[in-house]
């Protein structure tokens, strides 16, 4: 008799949720229900979803069913646990009533109130949804398959497109809102920067019309002052000192693989006499890739022509001198650079 009622209830759940309901067991009922927030079926407005597992025991409905979140999209842990506790609470409230449909409806209700993307945009690192942004809110896009959301989508589509166009060397800043690019973007597929899942043109259909309207977003709104403060902070100063100290120590034990010093023989430089024999140590050393611009090179001075500096960086002569046993060094005479 009780079993019959429960079976009728399972039928009702199936009738309400159709394909979104998977019945694993009819009695005691064990269901997976795909829950979406109410967005009038506009899927581009849907940022979260969940599959709810409801498993009742033979004592149901006297004992509430076990509820868990089987999987979810777009929900951070906090909202996941809020959703779960909310439904469990409802289950206790309705204890000894048939509650399956009511629980699902509660879940839909709660999801509708949580239907917003969470956290920061993984590309520009600004919060995706700012509480007090008002009308100033930046548009963002949602990838339809994985629910990952981004600001800055136009830059990014552009770079995806360029990537597929066999990496043309052009910069990203060029030709925003150009219609041919737009068409190319429409046809192409790409990968989500977060989960690398392939997405297709239809995934981004819903934002393509925004592209023209907000073409210049987020290009170069730089604020440097806060940065200067950061760099001058006490903790930064002490960090830099620590860094220098360790470097000096490692340099003394010849632990650093350093760029060639751009040594040029200048009038007035001499080799100290006290060293007995110039040890020839033709140690082959791993050289590091010097594609990185050497911004902080303490030895580069302004009184040398820059061309010779560059040339001396490239040469491989005098290699032995930079090896582990650094025994001698050119020394500048005090007044060598005076004129």
């Amino acid at each position: 008799m009780a079993e019959e009622e429960v079976l009728i209830e399972v039928d009702a759940v199936q009738a309400v949720y159709g394909d979104d309901c998977i019945v694993l067991d009819t009695y005691p009922p064990h269901l997976h229900i795909h829950i979406k927030p109410r967005t009038a079926d506009i899927s581009s407005q849907q940022f979260v979803e969940a599959v709810l597992g409801i498993q009742a025991g033979p004592q149901y409905p006297r004992e509430p069913p076990h509820i868990r979140i089987v999987e979810s999209k777009g929900l951070d842990e906090q909202r996941q646990s809020r959703l779960l506790t909310g439904i469990q609470l409802k289950a206790y409230e309705l204890s000894s009533c048939l509650m399956l449909v009511a629980l699902c409806e509660e879940a839909v209700e709660m999801l509708s109130s949580m239907n917003h993307p969470d956290g920061n945009c993984p590309l520009c690192l600004n919060p995706l949804v700012e509480e007090d942004a008002g009308d100033n809110i930046l548009p963002f896009m949602k990838l339809m398959s994985c629910y990952h959301c981004f600001h800055w989508w136009w830059n990014w589509l552009q770079s995806q497109k360029e990537f597929h166009a066999t990496n043309s060397s052009s910069g990203l800043g060029r030709a925003y809102g150009n219609t041919t690019n737009l068409q190319a973007a429409e046809e192409s597929t790409g990968r989500c920067p977060v989960c690398r899942e392939v997405f297709h043109a239809k995934d981004i259909d819903h934002v393509l019309d925004l592209v023209g309207a907000h073409s210049q977003l987020s290009s170069s709104d730089a604020t440097v002052e806060e940065d200067e403060n950061l760099l001058q902070s006490e903790s930064e100063k002490s960090r830099r000192q620590k860094f220098e100290a360790i470097l000096k120590l490692q340099q003394e034990s010849s632990g650093l693989i350093e760029p060639k010093r751009n040594e040029v023989l200048l009038p007035g430089m001499f080799l100290p006499r006290s060293i007995p024999e110039p040890m020839t140590v033709p140690t082959e050393q791993e050289h590091t890739d010097r594609s990185i611009p050497l911004v902080t090179n303490p030895t580069s001075s302004s009184n040398r022509p820059s061309t010779s500096e560059r040339r001396s960086l490239g040469t491989r002569k005098h290699r032995g001198r930079n090896s582990r046993k650094q025994v001698q060094q050119w020394i500048k005479k005090e007044n060598g650079n005076a004129h």
């Binding site: 690192l125 600004n126 990203l172 791993e286 990185i292 902080t296």
Partner: protein
């Protein structure tokens, strides 16, 4: 000057790197060029590089974050074809730290050392420990 047009994203990353540094990793921008970072990675515990301090130079190219940071010759897929703009300086440095814990002799910088590592790992690890102590010690 290179600092005058720094994208907000780089500023945000820098702030977070400085205020919440990842354990064993320190990255601080150069005063002259905020796209240039002095990086120190501590050798991971339980690895042959434990006790060592490893210096790196990291440079953010103009296209960053659409292009990967430049880091010299480190064989890591995310620095090449697997780069994604959702990765950050922090994630790159964490990957390098992880590489110290689990070196990949199939994609080496030095063929000789890779061969040594593959034929006699115990001995290669000993050498790595010795050299770490000798050349990379931070104290």
């Amino acid at each position: 000057m290179a600092n005058s047009n720094l994208p907000r994203r780089i500023i945000k990353e820098t702030q977070r790197l400085l205020s919440e540094p990842a354990p064993g990793i320190s990255a601080s921008p150069s005063e002259e060029n905020m796209r240039y970072f002095n990086v120190m990675i501590l050798g991971p515990t339980q690895s042959p590089y434990e006790g060592g301090v490893f210096k790196l130079e990291l440079f953010l190219p103009e296209e960053y974050p659409m292009a990967a940071p430049k880091l010299g010759r480190i064989c890591l897929d995310i620095l090449k074809d697997k780069w994604s703009p959702a990765l950050q300086i922090r994630t790159v440095l964490l990957s390098i730290q992880a590489l110290l814990s689990a070196p990949n002799p199939d994609d080496p910088l030095s063929e000789n050392i890779a061969k040594h590592w593959k034929t006699n790992e115990a001995e290669a690890v000993e050498t790595a420990k010795e050299w770490t102590l000798l050349y990379a010690s931070g104290a």
